[in-house]
C-alpha cells in the first residue's frame, strides 16, 4: 500500500523518466551540426546584446509586486467561482447563497482595490514620476518683514527640538 508521499515520489520519478526518455530520443534522432547562430541565446528573435547580469530599474519591482497581488486574487477567484455556482447550495438557501458568496468576494476584492487605489493616488503607477512642484506664494508682504517679526519673537517661540 502506497502512502500519499509514495505516490508523490512515483510522480517525480515518472516525470524525470519521461523527460529523460524524450530528450534521449531527440538526441538519437537529430543531426548534430552546431554553429554560432544556433548556440546563441534565443530571446524572442532579438539579437542578444551584452550581459544579462545588469541592474534593473527599481520600478520594475513595483509593477511585479502589483502583478503578484492581482494574480493571487485571480487564483482565489477560481475556487470561489466553483462554490459560488454550486446549484445544490443555491437551491437549499433559496438563492441567498449566491448573494452571500458575492458579498464575501466583494469585500476581498474591495480590500485589494483600496490598495491599488492608494498606490495609484500616490503615483506609484506612473512610469515617469512627475517632478515635485515647489509651491510658490506671491505675497504682497515683503519677506524682510517676516524675518523682522521672527527675530522680535525669537525668544518666545517654542523650541521645537
Amino acid at each position: 500500500m502506497l502512502t500519499d508521499f509514495g505516490i508523490l515520489l512515483l510522480f517525480i520519478l515518472a516525470g524525470l523518466g519521461l523527460l529523460g526518455l524524450i530528450l534521449g530520443i531527440g538526441r538519437l534522432l537529430r543531426p548534430d551540426r552546431p554553429n554560432p547562430e544556433k548556440n546563441a541565446t534565443y530571446e524572442s528573435g532579438e539579437e542578444p546584446v551584452g550581459n544579462a547580469n545588469v541592474q534593473f530599474n527599481v520600478r520594475f519591482y513595483v509593477v511585479a509586486l502589483l502583478f503578484v497581488l492581482f494574480e493571487i486574487e485571480l487564483i482565489f477567484l477560481f475556487p470561489w467561482a466553483v462554490v459560488f455556482g454550486n446549484e445544490d447550495l443555491i437551491q437549499q438557501t433559496d438563492g441567498r447563497w449566491g448573494w452571500f458568496a458575492l458579498a464575501e468576494m466583494t469585500v476581498f476584492v474591495g480590500m485589494l482595490i483600496l490598495g491599488l487605489a492608494y498606490a495609484w493616488v500616490k503615483g506609484y503607477l506612473d512610469w515617469v514620476r512627475p517632478k515635485p512642484a515647489i509651491p510658490a506664494t506671491e505675497s504682497p508682504v515683503p519677506a524682510a518683514l517676516y524675518e523682522a517679526i521672527n527675530k522680535k519673537y525669537e525668544s518666545k517661540t517654542v523650541n521645537k527640538t
Partner: protein
C-alpha cells in the same frame, strides 16, 4: 477576534486619512482606533473559550490578556511618536497603518489554533516590521538594518515553514489539537519527522524573539531602526512571540516534554550568557538595550523551559513588566538623544545621559525606575517578573539554570546602573528638555504602573 477585524479595517482608514492636507489628525485618530480595539478586545471577556474561522483561531482569557498587553504597549508607543509632522520625508499615515496592521499579526500569533494561522501572523507582523525598520530612508544604518532584518527574517520564516510542513507530514494535521492527539497517541514510538519539524519551528520562532544563537540580527537592527520603532519591536514582537511559543509548546507538545526541554535549556543558558555579557561592553545605550532584550528573552525562556502551571502567569507578568520598562527606557532615550545630537544624528551613547538629573529630574527618575525594573530590583514590576519565572523553574527543579540566571542578573545590574550613574553622578550640562505634555503623561503612567505592580503584583492576578 473583534480587534483583528477592527484594526484591519481601521488601518486602511488611517492609510486614507493620510491623503488629508493636515497631518495632525493622524496621531489622535490612531490613538482613538487603538482605544476602540481595546474596547472590542474585552467584548469577549466573559464568553469563555471561543473558536473562529473553522477552528483556526481561539479566543480565551489568556489570549485576551496578551492582546491587552500588546494593545496597551502599542498605545503608549504611538502616543510617544513625535516630529513626523515637521519631517518632509516622513510618511506618518503609512507608519501608523503599518503599526496597526502589525498588531493584527500579533493577535494572530497570540490566539492561533492552527499552524497556518501562526505562519500568517508571523508574516503579517514581520513584514510590517521590515518596512518600519527601514523607514528612515536617508539614514544608511537604517537601510542596512532593514535589509539585514528582511534577509535573515525571510530565512527564518522559510525554516519555520519547512518545520510546519514536516509537522504536517508526521501528524497529518495543521491544527494544534490534531498534533496534540498525534503526540499523545505516539509517545512510545517517536516519529523523527515530528521531532525535526518541532526543532525547525522552534528555530524560526526563537529567531523572531532573538534568542541566542539566532540573535545576530538584533543589535544592528535595533540600533539602525528609528528609536520609536525599536521600542515597538522590542516590546510587541517579543510579547507576541513568547505567547505563540507558549501556546505551541504547552498545547501540542507537552507530551514530548522530555524531548524538547534539554534543547531549550541549552539555548536558554546560551541566551542569558550572550545577552548579559556582551551588553557590558557596549558604549551605546541603544545597543545595550538591544542586548538587554536578548537577555530578557533568556529569562522568558526559563519560564518556557520549566513549563509548569505557573509558566502562563510568569510569561504574562514578565512580558508586561519588561514592556513597560522598555517603553520608559526608549521614551527617555528619544528626547535625550535628540537634544544631544551629534552631526545631525541622535547621540545614543551613555555620555548623552551625563548630568541628566540636574535639569531634568523627571526624565532621570523615569529612567532610573525603568532600569531598576529591567535589572529586577525589588519594589519594581521587574523583580516580581523574575520572581515568578524563577519560582516556576524551582518547581521543575532546574536549580542550575536559576544559578546561571541569578549570576547573569548580577551582571545586568552593572550595565543598567551605568546609565543611572551617568545621569546622577557624572558631570554634564544638559539643558532642560522640553517634552510634550502627552508624552510626559505616558512616561509617568508607565513608571507608576511599574512601581504599582512592583508593590502589589497580586493586582494583576486579581484583574485576570
Amino acid at each position: 477576534m473583534y480587534p483583528i477585524v477592527l484594526l484591519s479595517v481601521l488601518g486602511i482608514v488611517v492609510l486614507y486619512l493620510g491623503f488629508l492636507k493636515s497631518k495632525s489628525i493622524l496621531l489622535p485618530a490612531t490613538l482613538l482606533f487603538l482605544v476602540v480595539a481595546m474596547i472590542g478586545n474585552f467584548f469577549e471577556w466573559n464568553d469563555g473559550e471561543l473558536l473562529y474561522f473553522k477552528g483556526m483561531f481561539a479566543v480565551n482569557k489568556l489570549t485576551l490578556t496578551f492582546n491587552a498587553i500588546v494593545l496597551f504597549s502599542a498605545f503608549m508607543i504611538v502616543a510617544m511618536t513625535q516630529g513626523f509632522q515637521d519631517n518632509e520625508e516622513a510618511q506618518p499615515a503609512e507608519y501608523f497603518a503599518l503599526m496597526l496592521f502589525s498588531l493584527v499579526g500579533a493577535f494572530m500569533m497570540i490566539g492561533f489554533e492552527n499552524l497556518i494561522m501562526l505562519f500568517l501572523g508571523v508574516e503579517i507582523l514581520s513584514v510590517a516590521m521590515y518596512v518600519l525598520t527601514g523607514s528612515d530612508k536617508r539614514n544608511l544604518r537604517s537601510n542596512e538594518a532593514a535589509l539585514k532584518y528582511f534577509l535573515m527574517g525571510a530565512f527564518a520564516t522559510g525554516i519555520m515553514l519547512f518545520g510546519i510542513a514536516l509537522l504536517y507530514g508526521a501528524s497529518g494535521s495543521f491544527s494544534l489539537n490534531g498534533i496534540e492527539s498525534f503526540v499523545t497517541l505516539n509517545q512510545r514510538s517517536p516519529s523523527y519527522l515530528l521531532y525535526a519539524g518541532l526543532l525547525l519551528v522552534l528555530i524560526g520562532m526563537l529567531f523572531k524573539v532573538s534568542a541566542a544563537p539566532f540573535h545576530f540580527w538584533t543589535p544592528d537592527v535595533y540600533d539602525g531602526a528609528p528609536s520609536i520603532f525599536t521600542a515597538f519591536m522590542a516590546t510587541i514582537v517579543k510579547t507576541a512571540g513568547f505567547a505563540a511559543l507558549f501556546r505551541l509548546l504547552s498545547h501540542s507538545f507537552s507530551g514530548i516534554y522530555d524531548f524538547w526541554w534539554p534543547t531549550l535549556s541549552i539555548l536558554t543558558v546560551l541566551t542569558l550568557l550572550v545577552g548579559n555579557i556582551i551588553a557590558v561592553y557596549q558604549d551605546s545605550f541603544k545597543r545595550m538595550l538591544a542586548y538587554s532584550s536578548i537577555s530578557h528573552a533568556g529569562y522568558l525562556l526559563i519560564a518556557l523551559t520549566s513549563m509548569t502551571k505557573q509558566t502562563e502567569n510568569a510569561i504574562l507578568f514578565y512580558s508586561m513588566a519588561y514592556s513597560f520598562a522598555t517603553i520608559c527606557a526608549f521614551g527617555v532615550l528619544i528626547p535625550v538623544a535628540r537634544e544631544k545630537s551629534l552631526e545631525g544624528r541622535p547621540n545614543e551613547s551613555y555620555e548623552a545621559f551625563n548630568g541628566l538629573a540636574k535639569n531634568n529630574p523627571l526624565l532621570a527618575f523615569v529612567l532610573t525606575v525603568s532600569m531598576l525594573s529591567l535589572a529586577g530590583i525589588p519594589l519594581t514590576a521587574g523583580f516580581w517578573g523574575k520572581f515568578f519565572v524563577f519560582s516556576s523553574a524551582v518547581e521543575r527543579e532546574l536549580v542550575w539554570m536559576i544559578i546561571v540566571a541569578v549570576l547573569m542578573s548580577a551582571v545586568g545590574i552593572y550595565y543598567y546602573f551605568r546609565v543611572i550613574m551617568a545621569a546622577y553622578m557624572k558631570e554634564g550640562d544638559t539643558a532642560t528638555i522640553r517634552i510634550a505634555p502627552f508624552y510626559k503623561i505616558v512616561l509617568i503612567a508607565a513608571t507608576l504602573l511599574t512601581i504599582l505592580f512592583g508593590l502589589a503584583p497580586g493586582l494583576f492576578e486579581a484583574a485576570m
